[in-house]
Amino acid sequence: MSSLRIRLSLVLLVATGFVWLFASAWIYSESNAEIERVLDTRLQESARMVASLVMPSNASDVDRLVAKGNATALSGRYEHQLSCQIWSFDGKLITKSSGAPDEALAGTVDGFTERLIGGEPWRVFTVEDHEKGIRVMVGDSLTLRHRLITDLLKGLLLPLALIIPLLAFVIWGSISAGLRPIDAIVRELRSRSADDIKPLTSKNSPQEIRPLVEELNKLFVDVDAARQHERELTAFAAHELRTPLAGLKTQAQIAIATSDQHVREEALRQIVFSIDRTSRLIQQILTTARIDAAVSTGRLKLVDLRGLLQEIIAEHPSGKHDICLELDNCPASIETNRELLILALRNLHENAIQHVPVGGSVIWSCVVTGGRRVLVLKDTGPGIPEDELPLVFNRFFRGRHKTGIGSGLGLAIVNIALKRLGATIVLRNRDDGSGLHTEITLPEIQRSGDNFSI
């Protein structure tokens, strides 16, 4: 059932109905017992009264007495129906009240009995007076008693039947009034355009709805940030892709237009280089988008740091540089997300070998300070101008020492990936100006790390 209003109305209506029915049933059973008791007592009293008043010579007074005892108790629909008979012990009907059947109301048993007389059930109380030699029977038609009880029940149920539609109407109205704050939110949301995700006003919301509104607002903020982020990345990517495309197009047009063999070959070489650069740029943009969208899933495993670095170094064979691994202080393995770590270290390694001049060196080493492992990468490249250091992690930032193949995304990827791993990175120029010094502080050893994967 999707409508809260219908659902609440029905629940309330059914619940109210149930309570009412239960109450009616209870009242019915209690009243039933009470009425039976009261009427029985009256039968008893009437019989005793008649017995005490009867003179053997004066038995005809019975009728009057019984009528008198009755008249004050019941009237209208319930008038009558006590019947009285006085029998002698020898089985002779001495007298009876008017309207009483001729047949004996009961047997010779003392006390209450029930029997069918003329097809009708009767409840009879019998008193024996041994001194006077009479047996007084006072009877009550059970049909009448049942009518009394049925009427009582009707009195209870009839108003319910009449009130239920009214109750439904009142419940419906009350719920509508109660749901008004939700309606207001729905109206506000509906009147918005799809782009409009400014927060809802939670000030006037009732406290039950406020958490919902607040969570919704939090979601709006997150969605807005994500959208903004995506927009920026797309704009940047579009912008960054235009430059290599412009180069490609220009060189291709030259290759078509020139008649000079050397110029054409040069143009084709530039095209190949440009395609490599563009592919790398696209790959880096996709990587950035992927680690941006990374969700936390537990894919931590033990990673052999030395093996991982050796793998990265092997991927980038370079005869022009001296590449060293000094990992004596390094733990054999660390528990981390392998994909993210290799992504970060590979980008750093690529940066280093791209910037180091022929004959320069790239050195990976490891130190432990304050219980934390620090991976150090030293290169003999040109370093990064001091004023550019705070900017290098920005997306698409390319400084003065950029290389032709650089995308401006490498260090941004490194930064995001390491953040996900709980690691931190610091870049600084070596004190003697002989290159760049990079420190990656890995998360504390006891810590299991954030469970991120890409």
């Binding site: 235009r242 490609l248 197009k249 060189q251 530039q270």
Partner: protein
């Protein structure tokens, strides 16, 4: 036509050097604002092709600086920042034209020719002197000898001479329109090109002024 390209992307820079050279331009390439500043001090250019995002700052800032120093060299801004607001900003800061990346090489060459000729006060794409008509776009010259296809360097010399027919152009001036900084001129190349031009458009169209240089012969009326 001497063109300065301020572009830090090596592929585009080499593309512009060769591409604009195909249509008779002599292209000098620098990659920073600082180098561009130096270049305009030492050489007079017919047009500048300027990128916006340069390693040492915005090309538009340098352009504003250039205009402040009363330099009227036509500038076409070439950039990946291709929003309308960027274009307006660029034009308002002193650019003569604006082209977004990626661009068409032929269109760029045509736009460069257009801004350069506007600076010279010409509206027509063709130059006329006596019987000679030069079309710099197609590197062809029409004369009494008919239509002749010129090499880029021949066209550059003829263009320089025909910009102001009657004015004498020295040999050094003519060398400057044929070669950029990186290219060394051979001692007699101007003479060789003038000789070839005379073969193509008529012996008496270009006059040698002994000891001074060359000029287009203006028919006395």
């Amino acid at each position: 036509m001497r063109i300065l390209v301020v572009e830090d992307d090596p592929v585009i820079a080499s593309g512009l050097r060769n591409g604009l050279g195909l249509s008779g331009g002599v292209v000098d390439v620098v990659s920073t604002c600082a180098d561009a500043r130096e270049a305009v001090l030492s050489t007079s250019f017919d047009a500048i092709v300027l990128d916006v995002m340069l390693p040492d700052g915005s090309g538009l800032d340098w352009l504003a600086e250039l205009r402040k120093s009363e330099d009227k060299t036509p500038v076409i801004v070439l950039t990946a920042l291709d929003e309308v607001s960027d274009r307006i900003g660029g034009l308002d800061r002193g650019a003569d034209d604006y082209l977004g990346k990626p661009f068409d090489l032929d269109e760029l060459a045509a736009r460069v020719r257009a801004i350069a000729r506007r600076k010279e006060g010409r509206a027509s794409a063709h130059l006329v002197s006596g019987d000679v008509v030069l079309d710099p776009a197609s590197l062809t010259a029409t004369s009494v000898n008919g239509e002749a296809k010129l090499s880029p360097r021949e066209a550059a010399i003829l263009l320089a001479l025909m910009k102001r027919p009657g004015d004498i152009r020295s040999k050094n001036e003519l060398e400057a329109v044929m070669y950029g900084w990186q290219e060394g001129a051979e001692s007699n190349t101007v003479e060789v090109h003038i000789h070839n031009l005379r073969m193509k458009i008529g012996r008496d169209t270009i006059e040698t002024v002994r000891g001074l240089g060359y000029r287009m012969k203006v028919r006395s009326t």
